[in-house]
């Protein structure tokens, strides 16, 4: 029982990170029907911004081996969000917008290109060697009814929930969210109703990339070894999570992320742990075969 709870807990903490990344996939897909394969690498970029900004702060604050503390940790996250938001904005403007009226495959291939650019450009700029993410807050264990919980897991969960709540509020409580929902329902009609579609798309990329930055920082906090290729696997897992939840569906991405995280955690604690990644992809194949619209997606007949 205890082991089950422990796995569940670990799974939720990992799953929350997947969920944050999955939100970016699903939002962009919902609006542009584009799978932004560069999104996992934006997550990596977020981690690296955290690495440099956090490292800089640590050097100048003379925290010898200590932690930066909450204030600076928040600042590091903010800078990462701004940088990634800017990247997401430029990415769409430069790489995707000129192809908006081309066949969808063109943008998809461009997305893969941007992904490679970030991965190998990252190796070029940051160096290919793994880096140690600065300690943002001091780690400690909390014993909790026989379970071992780290404060990092709690931080991940709390921060993820805050940002998901914020996203939920933006989507359902503000005019920007209304515009996003309208654009994702029908691009052309929304434009004819006076919705500045280009701005809505930019905003979607900015928000999605900011969430990826948050995920990048939370990941760096929890698993402090980062490298320029680190975005590939979590990116793919988050993509699977988005598909599992029903791509284009915002709550679906969160549930999908948590499910993938939990499944992984249970497999990680079993003799099959070596097959962790393989099983995630088997899940993807199974969804695509048996329920391509995902858990919450609706079946949509292709318009003829």
């Amino acid at each position: 029982m205890q082991e089950i709870l422990q796995n569940l807990l670990n799974g939720i903490a990992v799953g929350a990170i997947y969920a944050l990344i999955a939100l970016g996939y699903t939002m962009v897909y919902g609006i542009l029907k584009l799978i932004n394969f560069a999104h996992g690498d934006v997550f990596m970029l977020g981690s690296f911004v955290g690495f440099y900004v956090g490292g800089y702060a640590a050097r100048h604050l003379h925290t010898t081996g200590g932690a930066l503390g909450w204030g600076y940790a928040g600042l590091v996250m903010l800078v990462a969000m701004v940088v990634c938001g800017l990247f997401g904005f430029l990415n769409e403007r430069i790489a995707y917008r000129p192809l908006r009226n081309s066949p969808r495959i063109a943008s998809l291939i461009t997305a893969i290109g941007v992904s490679f650019l970030l991965e190998y450009g990252g190796q070029f700029v940051f160096g290919a060697d793994p880096k140690r993410f600065p300690t943002l807050v001091a780690p400690h264990y909390i014993a909790f009814g026989g379970l071992s919980v780290t404060n990092y897991q709690i931080i991940v969960l709390v921060v993820a929930v805050i940002f998901m709540g914020l996203l939920q509020y933006i989507i359902y409580g503000t005019k920007f969210g209304r515009a996003m929902r309208a654009v994702s329902f029908n691009f052309e009609t929304a434009s004819l109703m006076g919705i500045p579609t280009d701005r809505v798309i930019s905003m979607t990329f900015i928000i999605g990339s900011m969430l990826a930055a948050v995920a990048g920082i939370l990941f760096g906090l929890s698993y402090p070894t980062i490298n320029p290729l680190m975005g590939i696997m979590p990116g793919l897992k988050a993509f699977i999570a988005a598909v599992l939840g029903g791509i284009g569906n915002v709550p679906g991405a969160v549930v999908g992320g948590l499910i993938i995280g939990i499944i992984e955690s249970f497999i990680g604690g079993s003799p099959l742990s070596g097959y962790k990644d393989a099983i995630a992809f088997i899940i993807l194949i199974a969804i695509l075969l048996f329920r391509p619209s995902g858990l919450f997606g609706k079946y949509q007949a292709e318009k003829v």
């Binding site: 503000t174 029908n186 052309e188 500045p196």
Partner: protein
């Protein structure tokens, strides 16, 4: 430059799709407060004209001015911002959104606040959202839909969906409203109600209206001026009386006897 204070000025507008000339040398000026009808047999190019006016299609030749501004390089939402909004022949509501949200979306550009204001929930945000809510409810009241504000648009009966489309277009606060077959699929009673509603909003919001409609009774009764299209060409225009008696128009309705065509 466009002429004087015309809300809309389409000059010699032509559009070709491949070898097919869908609309050729179309001219139309609309002054404030005018009620204009655009009629013609199926396939005459009426909706194509709407699509060019609203920026869905770019004319191959000719120029369109909305409020004196050439819309040639404009996207649809920029044209809407110039004061023109439309409805659709085949209803194109945001079906998965609430009735209220549909109307609020029409008013998107008129309620201004920044993303930061939204996240921080500043006063400006609250005021703008309250204004949006208030205006949307007021519009729904005109169409008798205020009790259904929370419904998904897709769950409204057909006639109400048509009315909601008009409400949504009005919430963009247009000076010129384009209605594409607003009476399509409505029964006689609903059509009469619609006629009354169009007259009401025409007066109340002091707007000009350009309407495409197959229901001749409605067009003749509503419009001050009618333009008749056939095979993409303007074959007649004038008052309802003039159009009704124009032999070219009667013939255009494909040899049908004038009574059968309702002319």
């Amino acid at each position: 430059m466009a002429n004087g204070n015309a809300l809309l000025d389409a000059r010699d507008v032509t559009i070709r799709f491949g070898g097919l000339t869908a609309v050729s040398h179309f001219n139309l000026g609309i002054q404030p407060h005018e009620l204009v009808g655009l009629i013609g047999p199926n396939g005459a190019g009426k909706t194509t004209v709407f699509n060019m006016l609203t920026g869905v299609y770019k004319p191959t030749e000719g120029q369109i001015f909305v409020g004196g501004v050439s819309t040639h390089d404009f996207k649809p939402y920029q044209i809407t911002a110039l004061g023109m909004a439309r409805t659709f022949q085949n209803i194109r509501l945001f079906k998965e959104l609430s009735v209220l949200d549909n109307v609020k979306i029409g008013g998107h550009i008129h309620y201004k606040y920044s993303a930061a204001a939204a996240v921080l929930k500043t006063n400006r945000f609250h005021e703008a959202e309250e204004a949006a809510e208030h205006d949307a409810i007021e519009l729904l009241k005109i169409f008798g839909l205020e009790n259904r504000a929370g419904y998904y648009a897709k769950n409204l009966p057909y006639g109400d969906q048509r009315r909601l489309e008009i409400a949504r277009a009005l919430s963009a606060q247009p000076k010129l409203l384009l209605l594409d077959e607003p009476a399509a699929g409505l029964n006689d009673r609903e059509t009469r109600d619609l006629l009354q509603t169009i007259r009401d909003i025409h007066k109340r919001f002091d707007i000009a209206i350009l309407v495409i409609e197959h229901n001749m009774e409605l067009v003749m009764e509503l419009c001050e001026r009618i333009v008749v299209l056939n095979f993409g060409k303007t074959i007649a225009q004038g008052t309802p009386g003039q159009v009704r008696e124009n032999p070219v128009v009667i013939e255009a309705y494909l040899g049908e006897p004038a009574e059968a065509a309702g002319i």
